[in-house]
């Protein structure tokens, strides 16, 4: 295909039958039951913590969190942005690289998209928890209310629910449309009645007809073409939650691209972590190769440098504006109460990233996993920094204040990690974790190139 300049990313010695049996066997004859069960129990405990904390929250109110005036937007929005950003990489890998014809995406897109679904779910619950009265969430929708009021469509807070619900819906549809042929492959491999019915119903009776493939191909590519601008629009819109306000440190035109790139950066880090974890868990080294890690390392480095450009420009923006409050916020960020979040972001997102310039580091699963973890932490600190350092000292000295996260802030955050992993682990238990037919497409292209003698 398009990357004729490189050597094949998958070994062309494996046959279509090999990869089909290998990948369909993961749900049908699940290997690593023990490890999986331990992970599931640990995640379920975290999920249990989320239920407990949410119950306490609803019974008591958002006062159990550390937020107060002036920092009245804290963990709820901070972790919302963080989770949503992680989700974006799944869509970018899947949709953008599909349109660009990058073969290496075909080993990663399925679990990256699955990651998107649950990261967005984790993000989505935060604004609802933050409402304080979550049973009124339907007030966000335009319905003919007896009070004859409507939502305010000129506010970014209203845009948000439309953007994120659209994103979640389109992500589910794109994921499922891409999954149907693999569900059919698993159906035809299944021997036990229960699995046959399960995959039979979910695959909707897909039979791989050429007439169907032709329409499927159009729908899949159209969805991809829609998903790419959608990702950009969603995280730009999230940044407008901040940039539309006049708070110093937020009111800047750099915010939309700065947020989108940071989102892709953190997401690619988590994709790399999941790729490394899954290939170890299921022995998928033949499909998620060292070459894949190499490419992921390069993408991580590139998006990291773009994010670093955002850091530089944020400082420039404040200095160039000459605005007293902007300069004050800049000083607060670098030397203020929360200096650790600023320097932590620089360290974990930029300094730790630098070894990725070396090929041997990119191809080492352990090192890449470590650097990716660092990026996830660094991006978490960055979102914290952007949020809290702008709010805790704004225009009036009389309204300055300090924010500290409470136990319940941390409990809910830890709980969302359970909310992410429990469904993710169930999906990798029940469905093909790597796209079977797309891997076979790559093999086909490689075999064809080999036959032509390059």
């Amino acid at each position: 295909m398009s990357n004729a300049d490189t050597h094949p990313i998958l070994s062309p010695r494996q046959s279509y039958a090999d990869v089909t049996e290998q990948l369909a066997a993961i749900p049908l004859h699940f290997p690593t039951r023990r490890t999986w069960l331990i992970l599931l129990i640990a995640s379920s405990l975290l999920l249990g913590l989320l239920f407990v904390s949410a119950t306490v929250l609803f019974a008591t109110g958002v006062g159990i969190w550390g937020l107060d005036i002036p920092v009245n937007w804290a963990f709820a929005i901070h972790n919302y942005v963080w989770w949503l950003g992680i989700g974006h990489a799944g869509t970018l890998i899947s949709a953008l690289l599909l349109l660009l014809g990058r073969d290496w995406r075909n080993s990663l897109n399925r679990f990256a998209e699955t990651m998107t679904l649950f990261a967005v779910t984790c993000a989505r619950i935060y604004p609802i928890l933050h409402l304080g009265r979550p049973w009124f969430v339907y007030w966000m929708f335009p319905y003919p209310a007896t009070m004859e009021v409507w939502p305010q469509f000129r506010s970014p807070l209203e845009w948000d629910i439309w953007a994120v619900l659209t994103y979640l819906t389109v992500s589910v549809v794109f994921w499922y449309i891409g999954l149907i042929p693999d569900l059919a492959a698993a159906r035809d491999r299944a021997r036990r009645r229960g699995w046959q019915v399960f995959f039979g119903v979910l695959s909707l009776g897909w039979r791989g007809s050429a007439v169907h493939w032709q329409r499927w191909h159009q729908a899949y590519r159209l969805l991809a073409a829609l998903a790419v601008p959608l990702v950009v629009s969603v995280h730009s819109e999230v940044s407008l939650l901040f940039a539309s306000g006049t708070i110093p440190g937020w009111h800047s035109t750099i915010f939309p691209p700065y947020f989108v790139l940071g989102a892709a950066f953190s997401g690619f880090a988590v994709v790399a972590m999941i790729a490394i974890g899954l290939r170890r868990l299921f022995h998928l080294q033949n499909l998620v190769t060292d070459d894949h890690l190499d490419v992921l390392g390069k993408v991580l480095l590139a998006t990291g440098l773009m994010t670093a450009y955002g850091y530089v420009f944020e400082v420039f923006d404040a200095l160039y504006s000459g605005d007293a409050h902007e300069l004050q916020t800049l000083t607060d960020r670098v030397f203020g109460q929360y200096w650790w979040s600023y320097w932590g972001a620089i360290f974990f997102n930029f300094v730790v990233l630098q070894p990725l310039w070396f090929r041997s580091v990119r191809r080492s699963p352990w090192l890449l996993f470590g650097i990716s973890t660092s990026v996830a932490i660094g991006m978490w600190l960055e979102r914290y920094m952007i949020l809290v350092t702008s709010l805790y000292r704004d225009f009036l000295v009389s309204s300055w204040g300090i924010y500290h996260a409470t136990f319940w802030d941390w409990a809910i955050y830890a709980g969302t990690i359970g909310l992410f992993f429990v469904p993710f682990l169930l999906i990798i238990r029940l469905l093909p974790v790597i796209s079977i037919f797309e891997v076979k497409e790559v093999l086909h292209d490689e075999k064809k190139e080999l036959a032509h003698g390059q």
Binding site: V149, R154, T169, I177, A185, L204, E237, H444
Partner: protein, 177 residues
């Protein structure tokens, strides 16, 4: 000579290239009601089988246009029905409405294309004659099947089988409907 009890012939090939070659020859022979079953999309096959249905893309376009129009109409109506003056800014602020308009354009376009694709393909359909074929399970694994449907005017239980044999398939199977 169409037969009511027969769905068609399935000829099995080991590579997509062999399938495309066979499909070309079968068309040249005069057969028109052809289909194929493959584990992944074989793009070279689409022009051979004259598959150029672009309705999915049109549905996506119509869906998008509808979503966009709907979003603007909804937001304009809401500001007409319940005007809120925010610092004297315009009520019908198209730039502020653009975000929701874009999201709904994407949402309706994606749903129209996805649902339209399934509907045009006649899915979900859990039972189909092709599943009766003994070796059909390999169509989702590693084999590429050419199908001559019994509805084809040139279809003949003996003649068609003899012709398909000349294409050197791995197997030929008559599939009951």
């Amino acid at each position: 000579m169409a037969n009511e009890d027969v769905y068609g012939f399935l000829a099995e090939f080991e590579t997509p290239e062999a399938l495309v070659e066979a499909a070309k020859k079968t068309r040249a022979k005069g057969y028109r009601d052809l289909d194929a079953f493959t584990p992944f999309p074989v793009y070279d096959l689409f022009p051979v089988l004259r598959l150029r249905d672009r309705r999915v893309l049109w549905l996506g376009l119509y869906g998008g246009l509808f979503g966009c129009a709907f979003a603007f109409a909804m937001q304009i109506f809401i500001n007409y029905d319940y005007p809120i003056n925010v610092g004297g800014r315009p009520l019908y602020a198209l730039s502020a409405f653009a975000v929701v308009a874009f999201e709904l354009t994407v949402l309706f376009s994606a749903l129209a294309a996805a649902v339209g694709m399934l509907a045009l393909n006649g899915l979900p359909r859990l039972h189909h004659p092709a599943f009766n074929a003994a070796r059909f399970g390999r169509a989702t694994k590693d084999r590429f099947f050419l199908c001559v449907l019994a509805t084809d005017p040139r279809f003949d239980a003996q003649e068609t089988r003899d012709f398909l044999r000349t294409l050197k398939p791995a197997s030929v199977e008559l599939v009951p409907s």
